[in-house]
Each structure stands twice: as structure tokens, then as C-alpha cells.
Symmetry: C2
Subunit: 285 residues, 2 copies
């Protein structure tokens, strides 16, 4: 039997729709919602991401502000720009597009964002609130994954959730979200130094692959009926593929996210949701 | 064969000694170090803890400031006091003794502490830095456990570390510390909703028990040679006992922390270390 498809595309459309309604509701009360991006230097991949964020923001009825700094901009110049956006009442969400050119400190730039305008949910204060289970602006990709699981009614309580990868953007916040009260998965965080990974994969009821290696996990390794969340977006000669070998995994898993059309498309939708949440809170005062 | 004893008492004495030297070095340059506690209402257990913190601070050569508010103090009164301590140049570390009387919000009070004076390392900003692996003021108990493990040369890389408990004070920050780069354990975070706990305990190379149930884990459940860190401090008719049945575990484990004299004594030493770190950073400007 073939696994249920967890369509990020479908859920993202719902989220974008919700966001558009919330933006319209604020507009009715005379309040605009604005998303600002900060990009330093030229990077083709980053430019594509940034453009897609602006397009999505505009489709949702938001204002969007595109700030470009030259590749040789200094740290101080980046931070001054962020601080001016912190003060700008038209800006509700700020994104510093990472990675910054070498020589610049992306972490420090992100830490300059007003936590109340942190569209990516990556400011230390918001990550701390996440650990405290009080976060409201959450890292976009893990937050999108949680939304997919909720949409499809995936049970999590007491189940063994293996997260492969411990990045700040995905692995670590994912562990906090899946292990939080009310979600209640038993979370295992694995990484490149993990021994006995095969054994852990074979036992996982929920498998989140955030490794960055094309088709690293084969269906034969996966527990029958497992929920497979594939965060990988690897460019290969055959096109975009995930960290999981989809064709073999779909025969074993109970449910699986495809690549593309799975987790990836949720990320932009999630950061739009963060931005309108920030605007609503600012508007409520 | 009997397990190696991991003596928190011994390591805490070393830490306290280091702290006293660092305090003395600052004193030589005309800089005092001060620890302030905020306690609301009367709670015999909390009073004992607070007294022991002041005693330890004074022995390390610090100034210590004891602030008591009546049980009927309002949230605003607590926060005003914290903010006045934030501004007080003699105060380097601030502790809001938890739990606060019902009706008061301990989380909010802690979030009022200047993150740079957060002796307990529980401010959201510092927890976020911990997730980012850039934390310098870390939650006291997990930080004490890491110090014990370092002292005894416990290997962590690639080993399976099971943390039972997901409290903000112990379980969650412990997971972040054990899974960080350079420490590199594969971390499993279990809790009351976890299924197959026995199976996980049997596999764990490192077992951190932060459950709060006397002798919940018996030696027969533990993997031979495992490192057992017992965070439990349970008052029973026979005195203080841990979450692990020491007498049976000591025969199976490779190394084990006793109760008392294990993890518990590290907590105060760790928060003194945080306080002098805060003072050094403030002094360095």
C-alpha cells in the first residue's frame, strides 16, 4: 500500500488564504501590514527566495519593502538598516536574508531585529520563548511542518520522533515543538556524530529528515507506517529531490511529504503568518 | 564492580574556588561583585535555598542583597523591584526565587531581569542563546551537570543520552547542552507521555533522571556501564533520595552521581559562576 501524501502545497494555500483574510480584516480597520527584507550582496539563490517572499506578501495584501545593500556593506551598516526598520511603523515583519557575505555576522544582525518584528522567528528571545512553550513567532520551516501534521491529524503524543539534523533553522526548533506539552512526542535529535542511526530510523514513528543529502534515507530503513517529513531540498541532475528516497519510502511509510510540494512551500506561508501575527499584536497594542 | 562516583561535592568545591579567585581578581581592580535575590511571601523550602545562596555568595567574596516582598505583593511591585535591581550598579546577578505565590507570573518576572544579570540563566533571551550555542549565562543545574561530566572526562560524542523530564529548569536546557556541537550526544528527551521508556532506559549510554519520583529507576533497568546523572531530590522518611535507586544502580552503572552530594550541590556553585561571569563582562564593558 502506498503512503498518504502530506501535501504542503495544499496546506500552504490554506495558510496563505487565512493570512490574506487577516490582512484584509486589519485593512478594514485602517491598518496596513508590511514585510521588509534585507539582502546584502548578490546571490542568485537568495534573490529567488527574496523575490518569492515579496510576491507572496503582495498576494496576501501586504506591503513589501525590498532593501538591498552592496556586498561590501559593513556590519554596522546592516545593523543600522535593521534598526531603522525596527522603528518604521509600516514594517511589521523583518527578514535578514541569510547567509550574509563572509565577514558579516548573520547571528548578530538577526539579534538586532526587534523580537516583535521577527518574521523568521530566529531571534534569540523568540527561540527562548519557544523553549518556554510561550513562543508566538516561530521559526518558519518547523512551524510549517507542525501545521502540516495538524492539518492531516498526525498523532504525536508518546510517539518516537526522530529528527535528523540539529540546525538552528530546522532541527533544534523542531525538537522543541515536537516535545512541547500538548504535542508530547518523545524526541530524538540525531546528527552527523550519531552512532546507530539505522537503529533509530528503524524505530521512529515520525521521521524528520533535515540532512541535506539527496536520497540519504531509503524506504527499506523506515518503520512500516511511519510518518516521514522530508525537509531536504537537494538540486540534482534529475531535479529537486529530498533527503528521503521517495519512491521506496512511499511504499513503506504511512504518510510522507513529497519534494517538491511538501515542507518547502510551507516556509514562506509560515513567515507571512508570523508577519500578520506581529501586525495584529502591534495593532492591539 | 561498583560504579565510579561522580562527586558533585568535589566539583562544586573547585567551582566555588574558581569563583572566589575571579571575584578577588575583580576586587583587586576595585570592582565588587553582587548577587541579589527576590523572594515573595514565605515558603520554608525557598527560604532555605535563598539563605544558602547568600551564604555561598558571601563565602566567595560577593556582596549579597536579600529582597523580601510580602505574599500579597502585586506583579507590578515584583517587576518594579527587578527593574530597580537591573539599574543597580552593585548588582551583577539577580535571582527571582521561584515559585512565586499563586496569582503572580514567575515567567513574566524572570523576563523582566536584564539578560546580562540573569544569574539563573532562565531569561528567554539567554535560553535562545543556548539554543544558538552562544549562551554564556546558562541554567544553573544543567550547567553544573555539564561541569561534572567534563571534570570526570565523561565521553559524550555520538553516545545516546536519555533525559527523562522536560522541565524548563533542567530537562530542556540539558537537551540543548548535550546535543550541542562539540558535546555531540544523540539526545532523547522523554517525559510522562513517553511510550517504551524501559526500552530507552536500557539503551541509554548516559541517563539523566529529572523526574521527581523517589527511586523511580532501578539498577536492573540500566545499561551496564552507563553514566547515571540523578537530578532527583526527593524527601522520604529515610531522608533525601534520588530518582534512581542508588544501591542497585551503583552495581550496574559505569559512573553515577550520588544523592545528596551529586547534582544538587552544583546548582548554587553554577549560579555564582554565572554572577561572576556577568560581573566580568560588565567590567570589561
Amino acid at each position: 500500500m502506498s503512503a498518504q501524501l502530506l501535501s504542503g502545497k495544499e496546506v500552504a494555500a490554506i495558510v496563505r488564504d487565512e493570512v490574506a483574510h487577516r490582512v484584509a480584516a486589519l485593512a478594514d480597520r485602517g491598518r496596513s501590514v508590511g514585510l521588509a527584507t534585507v539582502m546584502v550582496g548578490e546571490d542568485p539563490a537568495s534573490e529567488i527566495y527574496v523575490r518569492s517572499k515579496h510576491r507572496a506578501a503582495e498576494r496576501a495584501g501586504m506591503l513589501s519593502f525590498d532593501h538591498q545593500l552592496p556586498a561590501d556593506a559593513g556590519q554596522e551598516q546592516v545593523e543600522r538598516l535593521v534598526e531603522s526598520l525596527n522603528r518604521d511603523p509600516q514594517v511589521d515583519g523583518i527578514i535578514v536574508q541569510l547567509p550574509l557575505p563572509s565577514g558579516l555576522d548573520g547571528n548578530r544582525a538577526v539579534a538586532c531585529i526587534d523580537p516583535a518584528k521577527d518574521a523568521d522567528g530566529l531571534h534569540p528571545y523568540n527561540l527562548g520563548l519557544l523553549a518556554l512553550e510561550r513562543g508566538y513567532l516561530r521559526p518558519a520551516t518547523p512551524s510549517g511542518i507542525m501545521r502540516i501534521m495538524q492539518h492531516y491529524g498526525i498523532e504525536t503524543a508518546g510517539r518516537l520522533a526522530l529528527i535528523i539534523g540539529r540546525s538552528l533553522l530546522v532541527g533544534k526548533p523542531m525538537a522543541l515543538l515536537l516535545g512541547a506539552k500538548g504535542v508530547d512526542a518523545t524526541v530524538v535529535q540525531a546528527h552527523s556524530r550519531t552512532q546507530q542511526l539505522d537503529d533509530l530510523i528503524a524505530k521512529a514513528d515520525i521521521l524528520v529528515a533535515a540532512i541535506g543529502k539527496p536520497r540519504f534515507i531509503h524506504g527499506s530503513q523506515i518503520k512500516r507506517g511511519a510518518v516521514v517529513i522530508d525537509v531536504g531540498i537537494n538540486r540534482t541532475k534529475e531535479g529537486l529531490v529530498g533527503d528521503v528516497d521517495f519512491d521506496s519510502a512511499v511504499e513503506v511509510a504511512g504518510a510522507i511529504t513529497p519534494v517538491p510540494g511538501g515542507v518547502g512551500v510551507m516556509t514562506v506561508a509560515s513567515l507571512l503568518a508570523n508577519t500578520v501575527t506581529a501586525a495584529e499584536l502591534a495593532f492591539a497594542g
